[in-house]
Amino acid sequence: MASVLRQQLSPLAGVLARPRPAARVEAYPLPPHERGLGVALHGVSKDFGARTVLRNISIDIAPGQFVAVVGRSGSGKSTLLRLLAGLEEPDSGQVLLGGRAPREAAASLRIMFQDGRLLPWRSVIENVALGLKRADLGRATDALASVGLADRAGEWPRVLSGGQKQRVALARALAAEPGLILLDEPLGALDALTRLEMQALIEDLWRRIGFSAVLVTHDVAEAALLADRILLIEDGGIALDIAVDIPRPRRPGVEVAAVEQKVLGYLLKS
């Protein structure tokens, strides 16, 4: 599996950082998603003290699917992500990743955090390699190349721009070749142009590698641009579950805007 990923990634070095020229984009249909990890939540509830954050939630995510979770702040979407990561335990119900509990599936799960969370005292490449076994260190180089930062390997994180830091965080998540990547508002702190570049990069890598992805975001347009499926969380439950059938690769445009309007319309009505 490792060599497959390397073969897929190595020709991309330095190219993916720039917006992709239309001619390079592979045609629909998607590459096979056999690497992805299926996700299942059965009747999951979570309380914090007297407040119920999530109420009896059941979701099935097919291997390789890209799911976006949107909702107002405080709606429980971050809690959902933390439950999937095994950072919180559900008060009732069950979370299964590829049929196993999150803690047991920990090796095939990574998170890309909003604030990057790079170790300031480790170089870029050491950050990407964090947690890799000695024999797998080559994956870190490949992953860093796949986000177009191979030439920054030896630098301290603090000299990178916000967008570059997030690309390193993405490379770190990819390096373990996880079956599921959880994206916690990963682009929330970036400027509009950098965000568009990052969205294209994430979509491209996801299409090539085929991991499952759960993206938590407050940006409905971002959800419409990236996801196969959008879940709207409101009052601790799933208020809306819609499929997004726009051909990939996607660019911001009329089709994406229509999906965004649909979700926003529902949000504003309620």
């Binding site: 950072l87 090796a107 990574r110 998170i111 170790l119 005292w121 480790r122 947690g131 301290w156 373990a176």
Partner: protein, 257 residues
């Protein structure tokens, strides 16, 4: 690389040099009685004399050895306890509150007790130094670990780090800026404690040298001892800064790049 001192460096030495000249003239001409404050050249000559007899090197080595032994013992224990209190809540509640109480006792106030326990030999001096450096290193290690961004710890958990990797990659480097502050503070205390401890009694060391010289009214040797303490203290501080600069190269306020 510059090999010649800049104008600024030369200027910063101008006032101390001028003072030395004034001191020399005042002392030689008799304005200052030489038995109270001998002229600089006599201090230098006393140093040269003792260096040739081999006493100076022996005394400096004995003092440095005491400082190093005390620092290694006290600093090592301080680091271990700080680490324990930093990573374990149980250790924090049991160790920290007791140590915080002990911290209130000035360690030099224990000198009479320490003499009763250890006599006036080496162990008394090393014990006092160890006690003095323990607390700053304990405290700064403990607080350095507590101050680590919890987001980084969570990230490390997600990345699947083992306990040892967590220590090597996150906890130790994260606490290092604070530990270095503790070390530099402890080095100051180490020296001060040693000076006081060496005046107790003994038969070697810079303190012994100066106390002995006082008996024989050798003011130049007393001055030499004081200058030696200052010089060694400065050397250690420069060394600590060097280590800090390379160990914290990633840090915007310490790093060189």
């Amino acid at each position: 690389m510059r090999f010649l001192p800049s104008q600024k460096t030369l200027l910063s030495w101008a006032v101390p040099l001028a003072l030395m000249v004034v001191w020399e003239i005042a002392s030689v001409s008799g304005v200052i009685p030489p038995h109270k404050l001998p002229p600089p050249h006599r201090v230098v000559m006393a140093g040269w004399h003792m260096l040739r007899k081999g006493e100076l090197v022996r005394d400096v080595l004995v003092s440095t050895g005491r400082a190093a032994a005390g620092f290694a013992i006290g600093g090592g224990l301080g680091f271990v306890f700080g680490l324990l209190a930093g990573v374990s809540r149980t250790a924090e509640t049991t160790v920290d509150s007791s140590l915080q109480m002990l911290r209130m006792v000035p360690h030099l106030a224990l000198i009479p007790l320490v003499i009763l326990w250890f006599g006036i030999g080496e162990s008394a001096k090393i014990f006092l130094v160890a006690l003095g450096v323990f607390f700053p290193i304990y405290y700064n290690t403990y607080h350095g670990i507590r101050g680590i961004d919890t987001g980084l710890l969570e990230m490390a958990r997600i990345q699947g780090l083992t306990k040892f990797e967590l220590f090597r990659e996150v906890i130790f480097p994260g606490a290092l800026p604070s530990i270095m502050v503790g070390i530099r503070y402890a080095l100051g205390i180490m020296w001060l404690t040693l000076i006081v401890a060496e005046t107790i009694a003994g038969n070697a060391g810079i303190g012994f040298m100066t106390m002995n010289a006082r008996e024989f009214m050798q003011t130049d040797v007393v001055l030499l001892g004081i200058l030696l303490y200052a010089l060694l203290g400065k050397l250690i501080d420069v060394g600590a800064r060097r280590i800090e600069g390379s160990a914290l190269a990633w840090h915007p306020s310490f790093g060189s790049n």
